[in-house]
Symmetry: C2
Subunit: 348 residues, 2 copies
């Protein structure tokens, strides 16, 4: 079986963005916010938005299940206050839930958090709990820069974030570290801000005692870990210079996805990072949509690169393609059991 | 011959940092700034600071010449106004000049620019001109984030920066893109801010028409290009999606150094980036000082990794170890001619 741990609903029906625009306008003009319940999207509209897009590509590439979340770039946590973020997260998460109800065998849900520039991460606990306990979500996306490009909030390893981590640990759900859009003209959204966010998060983990305080907490760093695997020697050396534990200790809690869009990058990732820490992902209809003229295939067809890595054993492939996802997202097993009539613990 | 294009005077005598501390205190208290001419450093102090440090390591590793500049992390362009930056740059550059006078066969000089948060890059033209025309410097370091961690200035591809580029083009000197320290607790100085700065700069170049406006301008992106070579497929795809020219066009103006501190990273760099765009560098006594227990050698002994890359021809090695440096820093040839009694155009 093949699980893609990194998909966003980038093709969601227009009514969702229409609502968001009304919400932003109302917030800017200090008017009453529109209610998410006003969003009118039919099941057929959801089907149409997916069957010609993500679902088609999943089938073409042989991906069984995608861990699916709202569009990362549209989270835009710098906009408005807590009320705006709460309604927007709820609207996006409810739509993801409907996707999973319509296609339970193809999608498992990860939620957007109602993070807000200047508001405590504790304000995310309620929506996370609702999504996991009431809607069966298996994880969340965590934006390490709710300012969206100015990095003016406290680092994700600061105790300020601990109320959220306490709830994540209690619910036993991981977070994918994923920045949103960039308001900073220095940082191109997908070409700089995304990768910088990944690199920044890893170094913060390296510097901190977060996993001493939360030994079971798990994070997935997407886009192949930003710059980190390419500079693995630098990070080993920095850990050593700073008197920090060896990086192998971090790898009890930190995982990398495979959203690296060429063969040499995937080769390096699989050479440097233990296979137990790599989760298959492609982020389709995402940052890089075209066909690579050098290969004739889509840049984001990452399964092809992994299958071309020499000397990769079947056991390694099983880890990367589904076993690690089941380990990092333990609630996936229940989801699979419910949708595929598996017995708990049975191999998918 | 072997030229290391990336060395900083991290072991400079204490009198330099004493001066800087006095300067910062005076600036903070709105007192008269101390004059750089008060800095009292003897030739012997310079010799001592280098012979047991950078010079020793250079000799041990068989490096002939280092392109040497003031400590990047100490540039700290966010501190004080134009007067502070001018004095500090001048003090640092004059000291680098003395290093090159004492060890003309071992060092060629690159200058710190008196960049200032909130001041036009045009304010750097005078010091750049002095260093190149009067002191024989061969290039400069350019900080793409004079806020030192908050990225609140205009991108380096904005026309705001053009007066500096006009002078660089006229003098035919390149810049190494190099951030300084980080005041932002989100960004570890050498573990996040450095690599993010590199990645950010490359994406800005990709998005802009800077090299249409300055066809001869040349930049070296250090630390192996941040995240860029590892994500080369992503950048090829982004260029394609954005309707930008292929990356090969950028490579007429953009170069990468080899400060990547493990074998797989160097292997990827040399596989992905054309050899004509890679300049040997190690940044010794820099970001990562220890010995790698996996190899028994220093992390920053990058010559060793390059020499271990399979199937690297002598012609490739010559390009990486010195020919590309002579092309990117054309004033180096004069420096070599003067210090090694070479005729102009003669092979070093």
């Amino acid at each position: 079986m093949i699980i893609d741990c990194h998909g966003h609903y980038t093709t969601s029906p227009k009514a969702l963005t229409d609502y968001r625009e009304q919400q932003i306008a109302a917030s800017a003009n200090k008017l009453a916010l529109p209610s998410p319940s006003q969003i009118n999207i039919s099941d057929d509209q959801i089907r149409e938005s997916l069957e010609e897009n993500q679902l088609r590509v999943q089938k073409e590439r042989g991906v069984d299940l995608t861990i699916f979340s709202p569009t990362a770039g549209a989270m835009a946590h710098h906009i408005g206050g807590l009320d705006v973020s709460r309604d927007w997260a709820r609207a996006c998460n409810d739509l993801i839930h409907r996707v999973c109800l319509l296609y339970p065998r193809n999608y498992a849900a990860v939620c957007q958090l109602p993070q807000t520039r200047g508001a405590s991460p504790a304000s995310c606990v309620e929506e996370l709990t609702r999504c996991v306990n009431e809607l069966g979500f298996v994880g969340c996306n965590l934006n390490p820069d709710p300012s969206d490009g100015y990095w003016d909030q406290l680092p994700i390893t600061d105790r300020y974030w601990y109320p959220l981590y306490e709830k994540m640990a209690e619910l036993d759900v991981p977070a994918m570290i994923h920045v949103s859009c960039s308001c900073n003209p220095n940082f191109h959204h997908t070409g700089a801000h995304y990768l910088n966010g990944d690199t920044t998060a890893f170094m913060l983990f390296l510097q901190s005692d977060l996993f001493r305080d939360f030994p079971s907490l798990r994070f997935v760093i997407p886009h192949g870990g930003g710059a980190v695997p390419y500079h693995w020697g630098r990070y080993r050396g920095l850990a050593q210079n700073l008197g920090r534990p060896p990086l192998s200790r971090l790898l009890d809690n930190v995982y990398f996805d495979t959203c690296v869009y060429h063969q040499p990058g995937i080769d390096l990732l699989l050479e440097v990072i233990p296979k137990k820490n790599i989760l298959f992902a492609s982020e389709i209809i995402g940052a890089v949509k075209g066909i690579d003229p050098e290969t004739g295939f889509h840049y984001d067809d990452t399964k092809r690169y992994i299958e071309s890595v020499p000397d990769l054993s079947q056991a390694d492939k099983d880890q990367i393609f589904f076993k690690n996802a089941l380990k990092v997202y333990p609630r996936l097993e229940r989801h699979l059991a419910a949708t595929r009539q598996l017995h708990p613990g049975e191999q998918p």
